[in-house]
Structure formats: C-alpha cells, structure tokens
Amino acid sequence: MPVKIKMGLSKKILIGCILFIVIPLVLMGYRLLKSGGDLVQEKLRESNWNNVRNFDAYFLDKVNSDLQFFLEIWTDETDLVQIFEDEALKASYVSEWSSALLGYPEVASVYIGTTKGDMFIVPENTLPDGYDPRERPWYQDAMASEDIVWTRPYEDVVSGETIFSLAKQVYDGQGNSIGVLAIDVKLSEMMAFMSLEKISENGFLILVSNYGDLIAAPDGITAFNQFEWSERVLNSDHDSFKELYNGEEVTVSFVTNRTTGWKLVGIVPDTDLFAQMESLLFLMIRIFIVVAIWGIAVVTLLVLYSRLIIVKPIQSLMGLMSSAESGNMTVRNDVLAKRKDEIGALFTSFNNMIQGQRDMLIQVLVTAIRLRGTSGQVSDVAEASSENAQWQATSMQELTHSIGEMSTSIGEVTESMTRIADKINQFTTGMQDFSASSADVAQNMVDTAEAVNDVVISLKAFEASIAMIGENVKSANEQGVAACDIAYEGRAVIGKTIYEMDDVQRAMTELTKIIAELGSSAEQIGEIIEVIEDITEQTSLLSLNASIEAARAGEHGRGFSVVANAIGRLSEKSKVSTNDIEKIVGRIQLSVSEAIKSAESSAAKLDRGVDMVAQTERAFIKIDEAILDTFERIKQITEATDQQIESSQNIMHATEKVNDHTMQVSASTQENVSTIEEFVVSIEAMNAITQEVSSNGRVQATNSEILTETSKSLNQTTMEMSEMGQRVKGISAELSEQAKDLVDLVSKFKL
C-alpha cells in the first residue's frame, strides 16, 4: 500500500529554510534597527560630549597654558621691582611683553602692581587718579594664593570692557613678595572665538566660570543661571544629559577645565542627532532588504535543486518500491543508478537487490517445480510399490492356501501310507506264519508221509490261509491303487507348488528391485532437500540483509521491511517443512533397508522351501516306483497263490492217490518257502520304502508349516510395505502440496 505523503521533502526544506533563515533574519534585522538606533543615538551623544572635551583640551588649555607659561617665566624674573627705577630695564620688558603677546588678540594688557602701590602697564595707559592696584580684585586674589589665579570677570577701569585676569605674585631674591603680575584677557574676544566654534548644525557652546559667570556664549544668552540645569552643571565635574531648550529636546554635555575650573557646556538639539542617525538607518534598511532578497533567492534555488536531485529520485524509488511491493520484480532504474553519488549507489543497490530477489525467487520456483515433480514421482513409485505389495499379498495368500492344501494332502498321504504300512505288516506277519507253516509242511512231508490227512487238514487250512492271503493281496492292491492316486495328486500339488514358488520368487525379485528404487528415490529427495536447505538459508540471509537495509533506510524502509519479513517467514516455513521431509525421508530409508533385509531372508527361506519341494517330489517319484514294484509283486503273488490254490486242490484230490509225489510236493513246498521268503524280503523292502515315504511326508508337513510361517511373515512384511507405501504417498502428496503453495506464492511475484 503506498504511503500517503502529506508533506514532501521539498516542502519541509522550504519550511525549514523559512523557519531557520528568513524569520531569524527579519527578527535580527528588526532588533538591529531598534538597538542600532539607540546605540547610534548614544554614540552621537558621546561624540557630542567628546567634541566638548576636545574643544576643552585643544582650545581652552592651549590658550590658558600659553598665557600661564608667559606668566610663569615673567614672574621668575627677580629684577622686576627695579623697572620703576631703571628706564632701560623697563623698555626691554615692554618690548619683550609686547612682542610675546602679539599673536594673542584676546589679551588686553600685561601689568604689574607693587606692594607700594606702584603700577606699570603694557601697553601704556593712563590710569585714573587715585587708582590703587592693591584694591583691585586681581591683586587681592593673587596675594591670597601662591599659584596663578583666574579672576572672575570684571569691568576694566581703563577701557570699561568686561575682562578677566590671570595673576601671580612676584618675589624678590629673598622670597619676599613685591607685588603681582597679571594678564588681562578680553571677554568679547573669547565670545567671538566661541561663536565661531560650532559643534553641530544648530548646537553651540557656553563657557562659564566656576561661579556661574558667563565667560563666553552666543548671542541671546545673557546669563548662565537662566537655565534650569545651571546648578547641576556647577555642582559636578562632567556629565551629559537631556534637557528642553526653547521647546525642543537638546543634549547638554559639559566638562570642567582642569586648570581654570571653568565649565564648558555644549548644547546640541536632538534633531541634529536624528538627522545623522536617519541616514545611517536608511543604509541599514537597504542592506537588510538586499540580504533578505538574497536569502530568499538562495533558499528557493536550494529547494528547487534539492527537489531535482533528492526528491525526484526518492519519488521514483517509491514508485519502484510500491510496484515491487505489489509483486512486480522486474522493476529497475538504470538511468539513476549511473549517478556517481548516494542516489546512484542507492539505485544500484536497489537494482541489485531486486535482481537478487528475482533470481532467488526464480530459483525457488524452479526448485519447487522440481520438488513437485519429484514428489509426484515418489508418489507414483509408492503407489506402484503399494500395488505390487498388495498383489504380492494376494499371491502370498494364494500360496498360503495352496500350501495348506498341500499340507492336508500330505497328511492324507501320510495317513494312507501308515495304513498301507499296517496292512503290509499284517500281511508280512501272515506271510511269516505261512512260511513257518510251509516249513512245517515240508518237514512233515519229508518226515511223515502217513500224516497226509493232517496234511489235507493242513492243506485246507492252507487253502483258507491262501484265500485270506488272496483277499489281503486284493485289499493291498486296492490300497496300492489309492496310494498311487494320492501320490499322483501329491505330485500334481507339488508341481503347482513349484509353479507358485517360482511366481513368488519372481514377485520377490521385483519387489526387491522396487524397494531399491524407492531407496534411491529417497536418496534423491535427500539431495534435493540439501539444495532446498541451502536456498532456504540464502533466503533467510537475504531477508536479514533486506531487514538491515530497511532499518538503515528508516522511514522509507518500512514498506520494504514488510516484504523482507514475509520472505523471512516463508524461508522459516520452508526450513520447517524441509526438516520434516528430511526426517520422513530418513525413516523411509530405514524402512526400505529393513524391507530389503526381510525380503532377502524371505528369498532365502523360499529357496529352502523350493529345495524341500523338490526333495518331496523326488520322494514321491520313489513312492510311485515302489508302488509300481509292489503292484508287480502283488500280481506275481496273486498268480502264485492262484497256482497254489490250484495245486493244493490238485494235491488234495491227488493226496490219496499220490503219496509218492510227497517228495515232489516237499520240493515244491521248499521252492514255495523260498519264494515266500523272497516275497517277504520284497515286502519288507516295500515296507521300508513306505515308512520312508511316511517320514518324508512328515518332513514335508514340517516344511510346509515353515513355508506357511514364512509366507505369513512375508505377507506381514508386504502389508507393512504397503502401509509404508501409503504413508510415503501421503507424505509426498503433502510435499507436493507444499511445493504447489511455494510455486503459487512465488508466481505472485512478476518475474
């Protein structure tokens, strides 16, 4: 199922860029503008203050220090007191002071006032009457201090201008104060100078003394204490603050001059500051807009580029993956695989993976088809073997039945034989009796001719005995015929048995062959199973690799991970099935070898049976011969008996007449006795044969019992085999089913 993409990568990158580049840029720009404005204002104020300080340092200090310098070197002169007496010295000082002060237009005059009240001034001016320098503020201020003093502004007595003075005491060689030397500075000149100095468009400077007297200021400002903040300026060393001046906001910055202690105040309207700041702000905004446009352009290009090189291939891969997920294994993209970057590598490995999977699936399919074929073959073989076994079982049953019949016949034969033997015994006994009687007769014949009556009686008894013999012989003949019939029957049965035995032997050979085939088939299955096991293991490994790949791919690997897991599970299933098959095949092989063994032992027993049957047949032939012989003898006996009866009757009739022939009769009787003895020997021989036959019959019966047992065990083995064949068939059907499942599963993939 394709994953629905709510937000694409390019959108994410775009949003990320906007989040991480554009918004911070805007915020930063805004903050920069705001703080930059404040900073610029602050800096401008500071620069304003610095301007004031610079002015203080480079103008006020310069002017003051030059004048200070002059004052210092001039007051060091110890001969100053003598200028009032010495005209030459006075003239030299006048020229020196005048030339020195030529470059300082703000200096009004240089003068000295002594403790005696004398006054000397350059340039020379007429002082008003009653002028006493000791009463002037500069003299009083200077006398109170040992250093240079700056007076507060005051009105010059000569010119009436507002001035201030630098004054210092003058000492003689002994360190006594002799007066004060002072330099007057015109305030108007300072004012003019100050008004020239501008610190901004509309800003101006004010110079006040440490007492708040206005020393220099532009026009319009008449007094320093007109400002509300004048106290604040006078009470601190330096500062910068905002104030209202003429209704607009101004920045007031002031410093205190180090030497004079005067305050220099700079007043700058804020509009001047903002005018400077605005130009700066415009520059910043321009830079910001350019940067923002550049950033947006870069982001857009980046997004477009990433879309081209990353998102497009990923979408393509997604398409391929989803078609692979639905079973189409022919998908590949060779164009993107040629790229020499991660996307190229990804597509190469994807192509390889799909190819590998496809090959593997084809192999699985081929193997499954082969497996199905083999299992069908196995099933056929099993079925054939089962049929054979059943057919054999039927044959076996028939054989058993025949053997039973034969056994019964043999029993009958034996019984008859016993009966014959009995009769023959009886006959023998009779014969022996007869022999004894004959001997007696002969002896009596030889000994006593008188006892002819006794002889006649004896002859009558003899006749009766002969008749009995004749009857017995007849009975023996009948029995012999019966024995002959039975023997014939026995031979026929034996012939049939031999035929059946041959059948059984053939069936046995065939069975052994089939079992051997089954064994080799099972071995073939074992080989195939090894191949399947190998494939299963490879599949399992492949699925593991696919899972690793999927885990590394993260979100996009999810879909593929499902396929990999399905393959993994399939391989597990095949593993289990293969294991089962392996076990079953092992059992089949074991059973087959057992079957072969039992078949071999059956064959051996069968051979012994055949041998015994042949022996029986030979015995029967012998019986036959003996019986024929017996028949011959019985015939001879009958003939002899008939002759005897005739002879005895003749004797009986002739006894009275022919007594002389007694010797002849005796001879004949002797002959008879010898014949009887011969006969007895024959009968005994026959008896021995009969007993042999009887014992053979018993042996045969035992043999037939063994045969029956063997055939029963054979029958059982055959049944087992048949059952085994059925099981094999069932297993192979199962195998076939599994193979079919596998084929179905694999054919779901488009290969």
Binding site: E537, N545, S547, I548, R552, V562, E572
Partner: protein, 167 residues
C-alpha cells in the same frame, strides 16, 4: 545454553523462536537497532547503522595476506570490492585458528560487512541471531576493552561492540 555450539535442530528451533518473536514487530527503530550475533559462546551486538550486509562464510574465498596482525584472516572480493576480514576470537586469543572447525560449525559462520566512517571490513562470527531492538534504559557501560557496554534487548544482555575503537 550449555554446549559450546548447539545441536543443529536445537539451533534451528532457537532461531525460529527468536525470529518469530522478532519479525512480527516491524517497528525496529534505526537508532535502537542492533544485529545480534555469537562469537564462540558469547553474544554480541553491533548497531545496525554500522552494518552494510551479512554474507555466508562458505560463500566467500578468503585470500590470506602476509605480514598482517594476528586475527586478520585476509581479504576477499565482495562484488568487486576488496574487504579485509577480522576474526576477533583469534585477535583476543580465545582460539588459535577458527578456520579449522567442523563443517556444521562452518555452515553457521557468517561474515558481517561493516561500514564505519567509510571503512569497510568483515567480521567473522559463529552465527547471526537477527535484528534486535535494544532497551536503552537497561544499558550498562563497561570498561572492558573488548566492548563498550551491555545492551539489553528481547530479554537478553548483549555485549555492545564499539567498532570505531577497533578501526
């Protein structure tokens, strides 16, 4: 697990049990995923992100390289790339030579191809159990030089092999 190596069937059953539990969960996170494997009879794990793939030992032909450190079995060709193979058991003197084991053991041997900081190498292991999702809360650090931590996953502790320390 008592024996050094399990019987074949028992091993399969074990793998089936493990994999049955494992592959039903498809939400293995990239960062918490380890590949669990066996070295001798010890269990180890390597982070998934460091692994390129797993190949069977019997599928590759390793050519030995003279004058290398103990434990470096040699190199082999993986689809045109030459990959060195390391046997940590030999390197840590656990056994003298692992290639002379029985065929059944050889059958389960795998080579894990790792890719750390662009370095590719193979590690010979006795068997691979599969992908596990580790429980970070039960991870315990270790100062043993063979591994950096015990990580807990699927009811079992694994020694986490920090590959960067061995490259």
């Amino acid at each position: 697990m008592n024996g050094v190596y399990m019987e074949k069937e028992a091993y399969w059953e074990f793998l089936q049990k493990q994999s049955g539990e494992l592959w039903d969960e498809a939400d293995i996170e990239d960062a918490n995923c380890i590949l669990a494997f066996q070295l001798g009879h010890a269990f180890f794990g390597i982070a998934c992100a460091e692994i390129a793939e797993v190949v069977r030992f019997k599928d590759v032909m390793i050519q030995s390289v003279p004058r290398t450190k103990t434990g470096v079995l040699g190199i082999f060709n993986l689809r045109g790339e030459v990959i060195p193979v390391v046997d940590f058991e030999v390197m840590w003197n656990r056994v003298t030579d692992q290639t002379m084991t029985s065929s059944d053991q050889r059958r389960h041997k795998r080579i894990i191809i790792i890719n750390v900081n662009g370095i590719q190498a193979g590690i010979l292991v006795s068997g691979v159990l599969g992908l596990y999702s580790i429980d970070l809360s039960k991870t315990q650090p270790s100062d043993c030089r063979e591994f950096s931590a015990f990580v807990y996953a699927e009811g079992k502790y694994f020694k986490h092999l920090e590959l960067a320390a061995w490259l």
